[in-house]
Symmetry: C2
Subunit: 432 residues, 2 copies
Amino acid sequence: VSHFNVGLIGAGTVGGGVVKIIHHQEGFFTNGLGLSISLKRIVDKRKDRFAELPVGSAVCSQDPDDILKDDSIQIVIELVGGTTFAKDLVLAALAAGKHVVTANKALLAIHGPEIFETAEKNGVSVYFEAAVGGGMPAIKTIREAMIANDISSVKTIINGTCNYILTRMERDNHSFEDVLREAQKNGFAESDPTMDIEGGDTGHKVAIMASLLYGGYVPFEKLPIEGVSRITDQDIAYAKELGYRIKLLGIIKQTDGRGLDVRIHPAMLPLDHILASVANEFNAVLLEGDSVGQILLYGKGAGELPTASAVVSDVIDVVRNLESDTPLRISMGFYSRGNEIPLQALDEITTRYYLRFTVVERPKVLAPIAAILGDHGISIASVVQKERQSAETVSVVILTYPALDSNLQRAIAEIEDLDAVRKKTQVIRIEE
Amino acid sequence: VSHFNVGLIGAGTVGGGVVKIIHHQEGFFTNGLGLSISLKRIVDKRKDRFAELPVGSAVCSQDPDDILKDDSIQIVIELVGGTTFAKDLVLAALAAGKHVVTANKALLAIHGPEIFETAEKNGVSVYFEAAVGGGMPAIKTIREAMIANDISSVKTIINGTCNYILTRMERDNHSFEDVLREAQKNGFAESDPTMDIEGGDTGHKVAIMASLLYGGYVPFEKLPIEGVSRITDQDIAYAKELGYRIKLLGIIKQTDGRGLDVRIHPAMLPLDHILASVANEFNAVLLEGDSVGQILLYGKGAGELPTASAVVSDVIDVVRNLESDTPLRISMGFYSRGNEIPLQALDEITTRYYLRFTVVERPKVLAPIAAILGDHGISIASVVQKERQSAETVSVVILTYPALDSNLQRAIAEIEDLDAVRKKTQVIRIEE
């Protein structure tokens, strides 16, 4: 059995978790799995972090070169985060012939082609289970368990902050702003929550999954992304009344020659949909394979130990594969810039819609709205009109049958020109 | 890249699915994964099966020796089923130095030690993803993704027939017998459904998972197993009214030195429990790891293509690992007869209970029941007493607080001696 040395760069929350798990499981790796692995060096710019960790025989220092230039280290764990310094580190590690394990979704979503091309050129591999869904084995399931399948669609709830906020809004009847403030106070949301609540984080993870699934490069910058900040407690209440629940979904669907349908937006799910029962900070990925049918993975997508657990399982996988030439075959073959996957334009999708119009309360206000929808070939499945909330206006909620997005956009523009319509229309797609 | 030949024994439903998937995915294996795999020979005693399959260049015949004695075949897929002929085949294949992929849960649960010892002696491995949960990657997740975790508990719904029956009983308000008859007519239940409905099939899968999880041998014959045939539509209706749903659960829990708690029985789950939303023929495994927290896997546990998909992913794994010595390390190290894991006695568990007493309708019938429960230290959490269903008797339903099983058994025996109690008491454990 060969011996493998690991270097860890970044000893913050997740990095600390990695140190703890390796410390706790070392005996099992040796005696249970017959693997010989040491955490040889830990680098972090903050010295004080080392004192709190069970670093064992690992040498701690502050210069990444202590790892990058150490020829006895074969595997580098990058947990620095961000897309600048981390990018340089990862490229340097790969260029030095080291395998890289990372949890950095932004880095892979944005600089994936460069990173994977560098890895390929240097005959090493990049593992990134922790980048997508933390402790939930989404990448392993796609790469290995579902390898005998064509995957026709993926629907995923993969941002814990958004899911926590939407769950609490429904449970407590609170506004988005109130729940966000509370979440920030309790550490469930960042002080700058933009990347989470506006869907960027979900977009990074979806771009990585789509790239992996379809053997090419799905550029993050080209994805249509809508976040959850525009969802009101009123929408959540209407959804519930109509038998639906609102979730921030990442969606990947194969189409017939119209490009890959990839998008991130809030969606209404029927209450008995398996994804509707994913609550609080939990994540889930629902994959549809041609052979296997539906598979759901569910688990904690973030946090110190769940994410660290995925990092450590990647290290074990690297070590298990290191003597064979399997790591290359499995982690490559996708994600090169020359192999960009064409995307379907958002206005070409056909789906059902939830529409909430804010109109002046007066008789026959519904008729012109219905007429305009009809003119654009949009059929109404159901209507709810409630008593007035303010002195002025009332909500009219319409669920449509499947309609082409471009038709819907045109209809909404016409409807918003009506004198009786007083606010921007709320539009939420329905997924079945 | 080396070339690998595969032999398939058994071309029935799942075997046919394997042939179809390999035919369909061959190009991807070669061009996408860079693996060179051929299905070289297919053996089945029924000649007529070959005609319906896209066998490609595979040679079809009826004698297993055509595979077992062919030195160019490195991997044997056993899909014969049963525990006699299949056992001889698997042992012969292993003795001939071939790796084995199987979906045969009964074989592994009952003859696991002999099979894994033979594999180890001959330096080959046994892969069995398809034996537990069909297309759901339970084994891979336990063996690889959760490798950095101590797993404290597993709860699983892993028999599609039972789950289908329980789902339909609740949905349609039908009796167990009626739904079973209908399921048999539609092909969702076997003509002899005993192995499914009495929990044996769940027991096989749970024995395999427990053995794998805790690095030893959990003998199937020693597991406490109760099936679902005693569940009535009345129990399902009471459960729903009280906010619960009844599922057949396989449970594995670590205890503090009292042995491993492994059992299979119907259980009441709160409606908002993630496992309560697993409906129809779907399966799920809920794992609790010390680092990762809860992970749920959900998917179709049976059927031609889901199961075949798992078999093919195992073949890919064998091939990927074949040049290194990883397969041994991963598939061995557990399951030897000398390493039997002690089990906790069922009467030592503490849990909450649903109790349904059938009593003569008369004033004060509840008092002596409550008194006996109290005498045995069992506290009542809630009581439902309904109007009489027949001329004679009425149901009294009690949910208890956590109680020791042996105390409960003694209390029930005393209660059934009461003159007012007219039938055997229905006892269902509650899981939170």
